[in-house]
Symmetry: C2
Amino acid sequence: VSTTSYSVTGLTCGHCVTAVTGQLNALPEVSGVHVDLVAGGVSTVTVTSAEPLTEQAVAAALDEAGYQLA
Amino acid sequence: VSTTSYSVTGLTCGHCVTAVTGQLNALPEVSGVHVDLVAGGVSTVTVTSAEPLTEQAVAAALDEAGYQLA
């Protein structure tokens, strides 16, 4: 099991947290997502996965939700 | 047909716009909703309805979505 935190910009509210959480949970390796929201700033997204994720995969999921790695 | 604009606080992003729009559209009198988003400030929500809405009804719908009249 791998747990990694990412800095993500653009989140402003709980709806954004829900969107990011849902998109990352859709990755088959992912078993858990936690978001520390810093509205309008740099939020911390912590992802637990069965195997380490590539940063590319994480960035793609975030982009799908409309957000970017800081 | 009645069109009225309301000042609403707490909206920060497109998800908030969707939430407010959906909640107001759920009122049977409402035929249209337009939101001018001012992220983190005072947004303007314009509601078109078959009959004038009470401010109480609008406030209740906004509250249901998690927002308040300014």
